[in-house]
């Protein structure tokens, strides 16, 4: 049996994202690894009350021009549209930028709740969610606001806090190449959170620069195995 995972447009790939869904969005923060075309499609699709899990909240198109000439669309679109009720990430807004990102404005207006998570803790929470684990103990955040309300445990004489898994209904992922089965490889630092998030969602949707026939990718270098990937769209690179 062959399942066709390849779709012709990002709009078709995100059509069933429902109101109230939890959506992981890959990338690191700026352009590298950001599934820009899927984000634009989701902003057109219009699903509301989303919980978005992403490393950074985006800066919006205007400030994005400081990070890459010409700028690029980012998660700011979803906040401008009022589609997000909660953001979970390590850098909702960049302290080095003016306080004018769409997320920072929405937060100030009381429209978006923020859960701030140390970056490595976030990656590990997602890995736990993906791997069916109930959580993990970490020293990161001990003695800071991050430990608030969390179980503590002393292990080998050192204090740890319990962090719980993160999963999502959908993950929006950027990869460099996919074969038509959904095996993925990434390009340079556009890898970042993408392979981690690709494994932790019920439906993983990937935009790729290049789609290739099965058998063309070297099995030794495939980063994300096809079992995690449900939908693929080739976008103009």
């Amino acid at each position: 049996m062959t399942v066709n995972k390849v779709l012709s447009s990002c709009d078709a790939a995100v059509a069933d994202v429902f109101d109230g869904a939890t959506v992981m969005v890959g990338g690191f923060g700026s352009f590298a690894g950001l599934p820009v075309n899927l984000i634009v499609a989701l902003s057109r699709q219009g699903a509301k009350n989303l919980t978005v899990i992403a490393n950074m909240g985006g800066v919006g198109f205007e400030l994005s021009q400081r990070l890459k000439p010409g700028g690029y669309p980012d998660l700011g679109l979803l906040f401008e549209n009022g589609q997000v009720k909660k953001f979970i990430g390590s850098v909702p807004a960049l302290g080095g930028m003016p306080p004018t990102s769409p997320l920072e404005r929405s937060h100030r207006e009381g429209k978006v709740e923020i859960e701030v998570v140390p970056q490595g803790t976030m990656a590990e929470r997602i890995r736990c969610g993906a791997g069916g684990l109930g959580g993990f103990y970490t020293r990161v955040g001990v003695g800071t606001v991050v430990e608030k309300g969390k179980e503590k445990k002393v292990i080998n004489g050192k204090e740890y806090i319990l962090e719980l898994p993160l999963v999502a209904d959908f993950a929006l992922i950027k990869a460099h190449k996919a074969d038509t089965m959904g095996n993925l490889v990434y390009r340079k630092t556009a890898r970042c959170f993408n392979p981690v998030m690709a494994t932790a969602a019920r439906t993983t949707i990937v935009e790729v620069d290049k789609l290739v026939p099965v058998g063309e990718l070297d099995p030794e270098v495939i980063v994300t195995p096809h079992v995690y990937v449900h939908r693929i769209v080739e976008v103009a690179g």
């Binding site: 490393n55 302290g95 970056q119 990656a123 020293r139 800071t144 340079k188 630092t189 970042c192």
Partner: protein, 220 residues
């Protein structure tokens, strides 16, 4: 008005702390410049928490690839032996004690070496990024920062009033006025900017400074 060290000089001084062969992570902002100032004859492996080990200097305009960036969103150049990995693997490396040195910026450092570097009044939506993981996991934490705020308030304080990144994690603070080591006895003033005196630097520091016996002028 006496002159203070500029950002490049602070950064250059920080790179003098990198031992040959060390693995170094550079925090957001000023620390990123360190990649451009590796002391002659030393090999340093720069790790970036977005998933890269072994990059070189910041990229020139002609070299810029926006999928080849450091954690401060700046395009950087590859070095032989460069490798990429995902965020989870990157933070295993960081939490697991495989990073020798991290250079971080700061809003405040306390006399016990507590670090506050991610949140400040009026900006409730900023986050710590990988700062907590790095401050907790790296073997040595170097802070580079300006000695005082724009308003002239000390940033080296008795107790941090800004949100903490990690407790008792800082080893050394390099500012535009001084190099200060965090020890069990307190903050030891090791080096001082040219033309400045110990009482002048102490005046701009809330925490008590212990002048080192061999205190000297900051030199590169």
């Amino acid at each position: 008005m006496k002159s203070r060290l500029d950002e490049q000089t602070i950064t250059l001084r920080a790179t003098r702390e990198f031992a040959d062969g060390s693995v170094v992570n550079l925090g957001y902002g000023m620390p990123g410049l360190c990649a451009n100032f590796i002391p002659e004859g030393r090999t340093v492996f720069f790790q970036s928490e977005n998933g890269m080990l072994g990059y070189g200097s910041l990229a020139s305009d002609a070299e810029k690839d926006y999928e080849m960036i450091n954690a401060s969103d700046q395009p950087v150049t590859p070095m032989p032996g460069l490798c990429f990995f995902d965020s989870a693997a990157s933070f295993d490396m960081i939490r697991g004690g495989h990073i020798d040195v991290v250079v971080l910026g700061a809003y405040q450092v306390s006399e016990k070496g507590d670090l506050a570097n991610w949140g400040r009044p009026g900006r409730p939506a900023t986050g710590m990024g990988g700062g907590m993981d790095l401050a907790s996991g790296a073997k040595k934490v170097i802070v580079t920062m300006l000695h005082t705020t724009k308003e002239g308030e000390p940033r080296i304080v008795k107790e941090c009033t800004y949100p903490l990144t990690a407790r008792q994690c800082v080893s050394i603070v390099i500012t535009d006025l001084a190099v200060i080591e965090v020890t069990k006895e307190g903050l030891v003033l090791k080096e001082i900017a040219p033309g400045w005196t110990v009482p002048e630097v102490q005046n701009l520091t809330e925490a008590r400074l212990i002048p080192a016996k061999d205190i000297k002028e900051i030199a590169l």
